[in-house]
Amino acid sequence: MGKVGIIGVGQSAFVRGYPGSIRELAFEGFKEGMQDAHITAKDIDASVICSAPEYDKQRSPAGVFAEYFGLTPQPTFYVESLCSSSSMGVRLAYSLIKAGLHDVVAVVGFQKMSEISSAESQERMGRGADIQWESPFGTMMPAYYAMYARAHMAKYGTTSDDLALIRVKAATYGQINEKAVYRKAVTFEMFSDPESPMSNPVASPLRVGDCCANADGSSCIIVASEEKAKALCKKPVWILGLGAASTAVNMAGRELFTGLTVGEQAGEQAYKMAGVTTKDIDVAEVHDCFTIAEMMAYENLGFAKPGEGKDLIKSKETYKEGSIPVNVDGGLLSKGHPIGATGGSQIRTIVLQLRGEAGEMQVKDPEIGLVHNIGGVGLYGNVTILGR
């Protein structure tokens, strides 16, 4: 059985309040992916549509999009694993191709977070965890990640200042990513300036500056069998390794609070499948929904030893010129986090990097890249390793 490659990538701009419907938003990512692959709808054998359904008014969007994209009567699938939906979609596409069922599969992730009112969104946020046992206490995503941050600080002496450095890095690259929702600079000083919104507490010890921006957006990854990839594409990027894991939704069912087991486990699987180690990774996209999430990803993926993630960011090793550049497209923190589109956007970034087409964000000559995409509060984890 041959390799599986990525022959096209696309992404809409990530924006606040997209002025169109969900099918139109999804079409933006799809169109760019198809144009990038230089193919038409008849070349696609199946589609995988990915989102977090709590934001969608449309039931079962897969069928609606397949029709809008001209991808009927081919089969279409709907995949959901919260914020890692489109990485999971790529995993499904890989298996469909490996199984020999399809040769070319379009994975389209999207989220129009502004589809519902902010009151509705607030209400849904309250149901983001275990609704029987945790939500009745009044939980929110930032507070859960804040608990991880607090545990990390208590065990390793990580500080809020260390976390702020991650946001400063994200904003450095968000400013040069024309598809990012947050294009402004963030300085370290803003975190201690009471006049700056960045310093406002959200859920201790996390502040506004530690949290990613909501956005509307879409992404598209065109996945193909080795034969098709070579026939259709001059520079296919190969999927070398895939990992996926899950854990207890309820915090009471977990063992580790200074890292995400799903990130660690998915990473181990992906490294093993790809036959590479941490030091072979030239560029990475990690799931930085909150600054602490990027810090834990450094450690869970082996870029730093447990507790030493802070040293990596302090020494700027995760900047573009560093030994392991991470999120040099602005990350979720600045690029924005339209749930279902995020994984595809991360994969797109790495594909562009490996092709040498990342423009101002280009890392010097990378050969192997890694995408780490988490769903929920470390509930689902996907790691994808790509190579030229």
Partner: protein, 145 residues
């Protein structure tokens, strides 16, 4: 499970500031909470201990549980004080969510409002106590042990 017959046994709707579940097989948890007891379940077949309580054991696939009371001290694993809340929880602000480790199981809940923030420290010993909220709903909170 005990309790006089009702058409719909929706006792669980009393759990938490805002509840999202009303019907569950472990509704007796609420009666016990009303009596000041926070209870988990233990599988009668294989002895596996569950908190939060559950009706079914994944290890031996039996659904025969006995109740045990959460007693003694747990170690504070982590916590966070919220400055914003989801819809329906605003009147409770600010409040802290937290996790206690009892060894055999962990308990997720809130830290009692009476515990000053500057006295909260990861690793400290706390205990879990049943609590009635201002709106008459029930939950449990962690106090200094």
């Amino acid at each position: 499970m005990g309790k006089k017959k009702k058409e719909v046994d929706d006792r669980f709707k009393k759990f938490g500031t805002v509840t999202f579940t009303s019907i569950t097989k472990i509704n007796d948890f609420i009666d016990q909470l009303e009596q000041g007891k926070v209870m988990g379940t233990r599988c009668k077949e294989c002895g596996l201990v569950f908190f939060p309580p559950r009706a079914d054991c994944y290890q031996c696939l039996k659904s025969d549980m006995e109740w045990f009371e959460v007693t003694g001290k747990g170690k504070l694993v982590s916590y966070s004080k919220l400055e914003f809340a989801p819809v329906g929880f605003g009147d409770d602000l600010p409040y802290a969510i937290a996790l206690l480790d009892y060894g055999d199981y962990k308990v997720f809940g809130r830290i009692a409002d009476s515990v000053p923030e500057d006295e909260i420290e990861v690793g400290m010993q706390m205990e879990t106590v049943a609590n009635t909220l201002p709106n008459g709903q029930l939950n449990y909170v962690f106090q200094k042990a």
